[in-house]
Amino acid sequence: MAEFEPKLIAFCCSNCATSAANVCEAIGLSTPGNVDVVRIPCTGRVDILHLLKAFEIGADGAYVAGCSDGNCQFRDGNIKAKRRVARAKKLLDEVGVGGDRLEMYNMSASMGPEFAKMARKMTERIRELGPSPLRKK
């Protein structure tokens, strides 16, 4: 059986995580191809519904990548995002999809290698969890 390749959606802050993605590419580290990056102006813009929709349309996992603590351009967008991720995780648990499939990461713009590492880490986690139960149906 071919190894399961999880489909991930990453909601990336355009200030930090997206630059990190660029750095990552510039230094020749590729982001895994299974990750679709959605650029957002600030993770504070991420809504619970966005996160849920990712799963509704078939993602196996999703994560939000925002600035490191205290470095949000809009003061506390990343902190708000963290709270919303927590609520969405709970909802996913309640629904039966599993809150583990969603995560929040923090990084700074220069952390190119970190960005790639994070994508691989999440991919690994989802691979272990297997395909989204919604996809199996």
Binding site: I48, L49, F55, E56, E94, V95, G96, L134, K137
Partner: protein, 222 residues
């Protein structure tokens, strides 16, 4: 405003599991402000519901809408066509809205997506608190603008119980003792004498105890 919170999704799911086409309808007034049943929450509830049902091998059509107020016929009637086209309605309004829909659309099952908890206000972002129980005979004038019915866990009228400690209620150390609030407020107003006399037992006939409460006013009838 009316304060409510969402029911667990599994409970909602079990109510509407048998239907093919469901309308999730929000209310743009109180429950929007308390972030439990406005347009945004309709989206969240519909999305989680679709996923939860899909996991059960069901794929009903879940459509979404939100009206200004579910407690006024004027707005409720806007839903007529949409409701005719579905098998059931899931209302994310308070209990008043749910009942308005049920009354207006007699042949459609209507289900509540929320638990309506109280009348109150957001004390701060993300923290809603009950402050009035609609007892029908407001005594706030006597009690310094702090309601003993809604804010004392026992609805006492003559002072704090022995369970009051550090200004908190015996029921929950995170909850203010309503009576301590009343006392301090009257003290700062210099009006403690207002509660020095014994307050007589409350006449509950203005509350629920005389049946459903109605107000009929000829002067405003059309």
């Amino acid at each position: 405003m009316i304060i409510a919170e969402q029911k667990p999704i599994q409970e909602i799911k079990s109510m509407i599991a048998g239907y093919q086409k469901v309308l999730v309808v929000g209310c743009g007034t109180c429950v929007t402000v308390c972030m439990a049943g406005g347009e945004k929450e309709v989206g969240i509830i519909a999305s989680t519901l679709r996923m939860a049902l899909k996991l059960d091998g069901k794929e009903p059509e879940v459509i979404e809408d939100c009206i200004r107020r579910q407690c006024e016929w004027e707005f409720v009637d806007e839903l007529k066509e949409k409701i005719e086209g579905v098998d059931a309605v899931l209302s994310t309004a308070c209990g008043v809205g749910v009942q308005a829909l049920a009354e207006r659309f007699g042949d459609k099952p209507v289900y509540p997506a929320l638990n309506t908890t109280s009348m109150g206000m957001p004390k701060e972002h993300g923290f809603w608190i009950e402050t009035c129980r609609g007892c029908g005979d407001c005594g706030l004038g006597k009690f310094g603008g702090v309601c003993p019915i809604a804010r004392c866990s026992k609805g006492l009228l003559n002072g704090p119980c022995g369970g009051s400690q550090d200004g908190k209620c015996e029921v929950d150390k995170e909850m203010d003792c309503g009576w301590q609030l009343i006392y301090e407020r009257l003290n700062s107003l210099g009006q403690l004498d207002q509660i020095e006399d014994i307050v007589q037992p409350k006449d509950w006939s203005t509350d629920r105890d005389k049946g459903q409460r109605r107000i009929i006013r000829e002067d405003v009838k059309v």
